[in-house]
């Protein structure tokens, strides 16, 4: 009975629910913005790394290595608390989006590069021989095939970005975890945290399941 009152207190949860849902909205918005920016930038970095002139190729590799190595929390704190010393003052949403998409970009670039490299050379040769330019050959021949190959790892990146949005609570971002801890403090009861956990699961479990089923379908198709 004590356990139920402490962790699964219905009245407290009902009271906290509007806050939690607002937090979930911020989490989804932050995640979606970072995923979209990270994808567009990651595609650009992948193409530069594969087809750019040599110095650009080296730079993009350094970028990818650097941002795959730095912990997100450190980057987030740097962007939010260190950049103001350079006169760059970002809102907590902008700071969190910047940090998340910088890292999402690095991982996306790496995965897209591998996906593009996995497409046989004959495909782009056939496109070239038909007279298609680089952009058309990418858009209509190489990328559609590469994206199909890398859908599971790309979805994994999306999952990670959505999970890491929780770290934005340290820069005062009113996302799901932040709202939950505030509600927990106000009610002096951890039930809102349980509620937040359930909402995270509701958001992410379907995506995790999707990756699993796409991967097993690929395995079946490969056999």
């Amino acid at each position: 009975m004590d356990l139920l009152d402490t962790f699964f207190n219905w009245p407290i949860l009902r009271e906290a629910l509007p806050l939690l849902l607002r937090g979930l909205g911020v989490t989804v918005l932050l995640g979606a913005a970072s995923i979209a920016l990270g994808f567009v930038a990651g595609l650009a970095v992948a193409l530069l790394r594969l087809y750019g002139p040599r110095p650009v190729r080296i730079l993009s590799r350094i970028y990818v290595d650097l941002f795959r190595s730095i912990p997100l929390l450190v980057l987030l704190v740097l962007v939010y608390y260190a950049l103001p010393f350079l006169g760059i003052r970002l809102s907590s949403f902008a700071a969190a989006t910047t940090a998340l998409s910088l890292i999402a970009c690095a991982y996306t670039a790496e995965i897209l590069r591998a996906g593009i490299e996995a497409i046989p050379k004959g495909q782009s040769e056939a496109a070239t021989a038909l007279g298609l330019g680089f952009a058309d050959s990418m858009c209509y021949v190489v990328l559609p095939q590469a994206l199909r190959v890398v859908t599971p790892p790309l979805t994994s990146i999306c999952i990670n970005v959505l999970k890491y949005t929780a770290l934005a609570s340290v820069v005062a971002m009113p996302e799901l975890l932040k709202q939950a801890t505030q509600a927990q403090a106000a009610a002096a009861n951890p039930t809102p945290l349980i509620g937040a956990a359930v909402l995270y699961l509701a958001l992410l479990l379907p995506l995790v399941r999707l990756v699993g089923s796409v991967e097993s379908r690929h395995r079946a198709a490969a056999q």
């Binding site: 004959g122 056939a126 070239t128 021989a129 038909l130 007279g131 209509y140 095939q145």
Partner: protein
């Protein structure tokens, strides 16, 4: 005779390996040239240089008055020159029709309807009208290669390059592809064909080129080259492949 393709002093090397060592070749409009020779003699490399799928270090290639180099003239050359590959290289994510339509739409700027009409007509011509909405993976090797030929034809090229078009096929499918190629020979399109099918070479060619060691070792009319090769190397090669 005015050459449609003029190749002079063509040299190409991969690192220290010289794949082409000074090739001169003129091909007239409408001519059907078949290139034969042992593996590694530079046959494929030579035709891949014509649309610059391979960069070459020395020499020049002029196609229809356009020097094959970079920029605008290269685009022009590639649009005029169709190519059929050993491994078909169909786009697996598109339907058969999508494969044939892509370049006319993107490069020639045809509308969907125009491109569709042209593509359907070409698929009929190679005997695959009923397969337009299938994926390449659902077709046999011979059918795939015929789609690849239709795809090349859809750009209405003045020159067609065939890079060992039947080498990846099961024996029973070679005939259908060769029949399609042979029917094209009569349409006046210039063709350069790299092949190991000697009987076909003899039937279809206006001129046979024998390459060895990155150079043209001998060339001539099919009857002359097959019956009375001048070079010992040519004779040795023909003896080996014809098994006589």
């Amino acid at each position: 005779m005015n050459a449609q393709i003029r190749i002079r002093g063509l040299c190409k090397s991969y690192g220290r390996f010289a794949a082409l060592r000074g090739v001169d070749l003129d091909v007239a409009a409408g001519e059907v040239v078949v290139i034969i020779g042992p593996s590694g003699s530079g046959k494929s490399t030579l035709i891949r240089c014509i649309n610059l799928l391979e960069k070459f270090q020395e020499g020049e290639i002029v196609v229809d008055g356009h020097a094959v180099g970079s920029g605008k003239s290269l685009k022009q050359v590639r649009a005029e020159v169709g190519m059929v590959f050993q491994s078909f290289n169909l786009f697996p994510h598109l339907t058969v029709l999508g494969n044939v339509m892509l370049a006319p739409r993107r490069v020639r700027g045809l509308t969907r309807l125009e491109a569709e009409a042209r593509s359907h007509a070409l698929l009929e011509r190679v005997g695959l009208g009923a397969h337009a909405h299938k994926r390449p993976a659902q077709l046999s090797g011979g059918q795939q290669q015929r789609v690849a030929i239709a795809r090349a034809l859809a750009m209405e090229p003045r020159i067609l390059l065939f890079d060992e078009p039947t080498s990846a096929l099961d024996p029973e499918m070679v005939g259908e592809v060769l029949a399609v190629i042979q029917s094209l020979a009569k349409t006046g399109v210039t063709m350069i064909i790299v092949t190991h099918e000697m009987g076909f070479a003899r039937r279809v060619a206006d001129r046979i080129i024998f390459m060895d060691g990155g150079m043209i070792a001998e060339q001539g009319a099919p009857e002359q080259l097959f019956k009375a090769p001048r070079e010992p190397r040519t004779r040795a090669f023909l003896d080996a492949v014809l098994g006589s």
